[in-house]
């Protein structure tokens, strides 16, 4: 094969499909509770990596040997990763549906169908199937359903229980940080109020030695977007606090050093007329720092001052102080619990952030920050602590937890449907072939209708269950709420057995797979770029 070149029909479609299928076959193995694992062993120097989620496997496969096939593999890889980013799950199902849709459609084209019309048929059938999935969807209004969705993603029962509980308590805008521990451990913490990355300015302010925290109740809040060095910078503020009945202060700035720091510590330690102070510095400055302080200002009712804003801290007035019921700071974080901000203003901010989040593409780099800010305002911040003895196990647990959090967010938004591939079977049944405008379109609709049975069959095949088609007929006969329990080898109620999938994931896997299959079907020519030089080839 040439180093670069143009591949035309029929080779282009043939090799593209080979590559597409090659990757799909690997990913299909990871579908279901009896999924297999893929051992990734890239170099001699690296430890092997046990992978069992489709997105990570796809990400690890960066190239397959035949460059004509690689085009197809990379196309599917992109689809799987896109699914992972949007809902955290559904990569394997996307691959299976995409593969079978492409196979069926290719068969139809080989049988004389017109490719563009077949594509139209696939799209029309997809729209009908999506409608059917939405109609099937149940709202996720209980912890059991959420835990079931999490278990479908993680395959880890206790982790799923905890995630179900966390999302039930924190809601759909939950912001959950996953922390890793070096022992077998699974725990969750719910954070009251907001948390900011920053640190306490001096250990002399610590009031709770057991936790190394400075804690004060009922504090006045002063926020400064800048650095404080001089005694004069903080003296007016201390004087204002002295005049208040409650002499407790929570001061946050970008940096507090030198005489300003000494003044705060000595005011805190003063025997007769002391002020109880919690003072911290934010880990970020600049525009993002101002935004963090503005969030605090909304939550506490304070006004952000700053040299760049034309307001040095020395010009602060009592009316510019906010209030907080409890202020805490340690060497890593700053906390504000029950701020005295205007509830209406806080509600408006939550609504504005919700709108922003709903309209931000899932792969946007700001989405995490928006999510975090929203969780701070709505009090939906949690920490999931996972631990395992080995690094590999820890990493796997962390990944599982992260995938599940996305899936649960999706579930809370759109609900859930029966899992185990059954939702697709019912969606396939809802595809009305008679709605096709011509025979070619009907062929396309039939292609997707046939392909939608693939996830169910693949799940049973992975579990080594004999004659999956017979089980498929049985599960359809038993109605919408019934699924096939692969471990127990019996037909059970989806909700009772907890075999459910997020509607959003189910829907998006179908839409993404159809989009990929239609794109692959439309390819006539592939252009292979010049192969990059390797060290071996390199000659100066």
């Amino acid at each position: 094969m040439n180093n670069h070149g143009v591949v035309s029909q029929p080779d282009s479609a043939y090799f593209l499909r080979l590559g597409f299928n090659q990757l799909a076959d690997v990913l299909a193995l990871t579908l279901g509770p009896t999924k297999g694992s893929v051992l990734n062993f890239s170099t001699r120097n690296e430890r092997p990596e046990m992978l069992n989620d489709a997105a990570t496997i796809a990400r690890r496969i960066i190239q397959i040997p035949d460059r004509r096939q690689d085009v197809g593999a990379m196309l599917l890889r992109q689809l799987v990763w896109q699914m992972h980013q949007q809902v955290g799950d559904g990569g394997a199902i996307t691959a299976v549906i995409a593969k079978h849709t492409l196979d069926e459609a290719t068969r139809m084209v080989a049988a004389g169908g017109i490719a563009p019309l077949i594509q139209n048929g696939i799209k029309k059938a997809s729209a009908q199937a999506v409608d059917a999935i939405k109609a099937m969807s149940q709202p996720a209004d209980n912890e059991m359903a959420l835990a079931a969705v999490a278990e479908a993603v993680t395959g880890h029962q206790k982790l799923s229980w905890i995630l179900g509980e966390m999302f039930d308590i924190l809601g759909k805008y939950a912001f959950i940080t996953v922390e890793k521990y070096m022992s077998s451990y699974l725990e969750r913490i719910y954070l009251e109020g907001g948390r900011w990355s920053g640190k306490l300015i001096s250990p002399y302010l610590i009031t709770a030695p057991a936790t190394q925290k400075a804690i004060q109740q009922d504090c006045y809040v002063a926020l400064f977007a800048g650095k404080l060095h001089e005694h004069e910078d903080v003296a007016p503020l201390l004087s204002i606090i002295h005049q208040q009945k409650t002499k407790n202060l929570y001061l946050l700035a970008y940096d507090i050093t030198s005489d300003a720091l000494n003044a705060l510590v000595s005011a805190h330690q003063h025997q007769k007329n002391g002020i109880n102070i919690v003072a911290g510095t934010l880990n970020i400055g600049g525009q993002q720092g101002v935004r963090e302080l503005e969030d605090l200002a909304i939550l506490t009712g304070a006004t952000v001052l700053g040299d760049d804003l034309g307001r040095p801290l020395s010009s602060i007035k009592a009316s510019e102080l906010g209030r907080v019921k409890r202020a805490e700071a340690d060497k890593e974080n700053l906390y504000a619990i029950q701020g005295g901000g205007d509830p209406k203003r806080i509600r408006e901010e939550i609504q504005s952030l919700q709108t922003l989040l709903d309209h931000t593409p899932p792969d946007d780099e700001d989405i995490g920050i928006i999510h975090q800010r929203l969780a701070r305002f709505s009090g939906s911040v949690g920490i999931l602590q996972v631990g395992a003895i080995s690094q590999t196990e820890r990493d796997v647990l962390e990944q599982k937890a992260k995938h599940a959090t996305r899936a649960l967010s999706a579930t809370l938004m759109e609900g859930y449907v029966p899992g185990g591939g059954v939702a697709y079977l019912h969606a396939a049944k809802a595809i009305d072939l008679d709605s096709a405008e011509n025979d070619d379109e009907r062929m396309g609709m039939l292609a997707l209708k046939n392909a939608l049975s693939a996830p169910f069959i693949q799940l049973l095949t992975n579990a080594g269950i004999y004659a999956p088609e017979v089980k498929m007929a049985d599960v359809m006969a038993k109605g919408n709420g019934t699924v096939y329990h692969i471990i127990e080898e019996d037909f059970v109620s989806a909700v009772d057995a907890g075999i459910v999938d997020a509607t959003k994931m189910t829907r998006m896997a179908l839409e993404t797979a159809v989009s990929g299959a239609v794109m692959a079907l439309s390819v006539d020519v592939t252009v292979l770029k010049k192969k990059p030089r390797t060290n071996k080839d390199y000659t100066p």
């Binding site: 912890e143 206790k158 308590i169 719910y190 709770a208 057991a210 936790t211 007769k272």
Partner: protein, 567 residues
């Protein structure tokens, strides 16, 4: 050795009752915990940092207790010694402590506070941190945990004045559950078979009863028409409902059939099911029923009274406590008669045969050692101090307002400390003296009225907690004042501070004798030389915390009265 005088009256308020891991019964009284040992009830808590116990609980081998002002202590030796625990900074009093049903395995404990929400410990009660996620109000009146926690669900229910909160995860987070917004919840009880039936009952202050069949997430009214319900208890499908001074039993299958199983004349403080027995405590007794309330047996011989004043006048000995009345003995403590039992005594002074009492229902005076009582005046404010000085009766309100009795009645007086918290008022060396706490400067202040100049003179000032100092008149030093673990004496150069005890065992009583001071430092009796304060001798004492010493008579925390050997 000090001789114990006749017991004044057994009984007293018991807030709660529980069993230790060994099956020992513990009574929770405001004075501390009482354990039955060698045919008598002995006080377990000595030298603890509370001036009143609120609640206690046992978890495994550890006993926990809490009281005013705040804090939790624990004992791992059955109450012989107590250790402080580390608590997340909070100031509200703790009102309830409960342990996880799987305490041996998970070491989880929860504590409810009256103002700061809920504290949680995951290390067997050594460290406590606030766990308020989801709470919207923080004055918790009731906190209960399910009798069984499984691998997945660890149900707890917390009740505030206006809302019910459920936690499915052992108190890590709370969620407000839908409930009648008008109703004020009062008590909660889990079904003993909660693991299977997921049933919880909840009562309200306006006499309604609710039931939840899904672990407290949704509630349905099952009965009403009760009076104010203050407690619930469930044994063998029978729900026992506490209505102020009576207990009503209903079958959980039919709440329309109600049977009064106990009618007391005293307010009921708690009703617990311990194994198959019902244990009921009141403000003056404990009764037990082993047959589902058909018959009740009183628990005798404990003493949980709190006498904080002891006065001697002529041949009479007068002992009084805020809630336990005023008692008189005219035969040297061999027998006692009740002089006064109406209302809460706030302040007391005795002069010859006259007794002056400030109570929450007014000011009273008896000219004949309690044979008859006259109402001396009604003032809206509560009088925390009474003193006879300068031929006048002086009164001090809780907010520092001073009144002086004259022919025209009670005349308000101007004072520089008006508005501050008045802790006490005494006549010292003929001068009326007030003890005031200045919260702005966190100082205890003593102000003395100087009749010649007609001014209040700041006599003593020291930074301290808002606890009443102890004061004694001395022929050598004039006045001695005990604050926390220190004794203050007036030297020529000013007040001289002498450390005689630690802050863990503050001075609770001082009495001046000829060449030494007798000092009650909580549970220790000390003899301190007047000429050399370094000479401190610990006298033999059985360890009950001492509350007052006067004229060779001493009262201790659990209502015992002692007389000095020389008498």
């Amino acid at each position: 050795m000090w001789n114990e005088l006749a017991q004044i009256a057994p009984g007293g308020p018991i807030l709660d009752i529980f069993l230790t891991e060994k099956g020992e019964q513990i009574l929770v009284s405001p004075n501390g915990l009482l354990k039955h040992q060698s045919q008598t009830w002995r006080l377990l808590m000595r030298g603890v940092p509370f001036w009143q116990t609120n609640c206690a609980a046992a978890a495994g081998k550890t006993i926990f207790s809490s009281g005013f002002p705040t804090g939790i202590i624990r004992s791992i030796d059955g109450g012989k010694s107590w250790l402080n625990t580390f608590i997340d900074q909070q100031t509200a009093p703790i009102v309830n402590i409960v342990a996880s049903p799987n305490y041996a395995k998970d070491r989880i404990m929860l504590a409810a506070t009256d103002g700061d929400g809920i504290l949680r410990s995951t290390d067997g009660g050594r460290h406590w941190q606030l766990s308020n996620f989801g709470l919207r109000d923080f004055q918790i009146v009731e906190l209960v945990v399910a009798p069984q926690w499984d691998e997945r669900y660890e149900f707890c229910i917390a009740v505030s004045e206006t809302a019910v909160y459920q936690s499915p995860n052992g108190g890590r987070a709370w969620r407000r559950v839908e409930f009648d917004e008008e109703a004020h919840p009062s008590a909660v009880v889990f079904s003993p078979d909660f693991q299977n039936d997921r049933t919880v009952y909840l009562s309200t202050q306006d006499g309604k009863l609710f039931c939840s069949a899904n672990s407290g997430r949704q509630w349905q009214k099952v009965a009403d028409g009760f009076e104010t319900i203050s407690g619930l208890c469930l044994i063998q499908n029978k729900l026992f409902i506490v209505e102020f001074d009576k207990v009503i039993a209903c079958a959980t299958s039919d709440f329309s059939k109600r049977e009064i199983v106990l009618q007391d004349t005293l307010p009921i403080l708690s009703l617990n099911a311990i194994k198959t027995q019902l244990h009921l405590t009141t403000i003056d007794g404990v009764t037990v029923s082993a047959d589902n309330g058909r018959s009740w047996q009183a628990v005798e011989s404990y003493n949980a009274r709190r006498f904080v004043w002891v006065k001697r006048s002529a041949n009479a000995l007068i002992v009084a406590g805020p809630d336990d009345g005023i008692w008189l003995s005219t035969d040297g403590g061999r027998s006692w008669s009740l002089l006064w039992a109406d209302g809460t005594v706030l302040a007391l002074d005795v002069s010859h045969e006259q007794i002056f009492v400030s109570s929450d229902i007014g000011l009273f005076v008896s000219p004949d050692l309690g044979k008859s009582w006259l109402q001396a005046g009604v003032i809206d404010e509560q009088m925390m101090g009474v003193a006879i000085a300068d031929s006048h009766l002086w009164l001090g309100s809780q907010f520092g307002q001073i009144f002086r009795q004259s022919g025209a009645g009670l005349e308000p007086q101007n004072a520089p400390f008006t508005g501050k918290a008045l802790l006490d008022m005494q006549q010292i060396n003929g001068f009326v003296t007030t003890v005031v706490y200045n919260a702005d400067s966190s100082e205890i202040q003593l102000w003395q009225w100087q009749p010649e100049n007609k001014v209040w003179h700041l006599f003593f000032s020291e930074r301290s907690q808002p606890n009443k100092p102890v004061i004694a008149v001395d022929n050598r030093w004039g006045v001695v004042i005990g604050v926390a673990g220190s004794l203050y004496v007036k030297a020529q150069s000013g007040w001289r501070r002498v450390q005689v005890s630690s802050s863990d065992a503050p001075i609770t009583a001082v009495y001046s004798q000829q060449d030494h001071f007798l000092i009650g430092a909580t549970d220790r009796l000390l003899k301190v030389s007047k000429t050399d304060f370094a000479q401190i001798e610990a006298l033999s004492w059985d360890g009950d915390p001492i509350l007052d010493i006067s004229e060779h008579v001493m009262v201790t925390i659990n209502g015992r009265v002692f007389q000095a050997p020389s008498q």
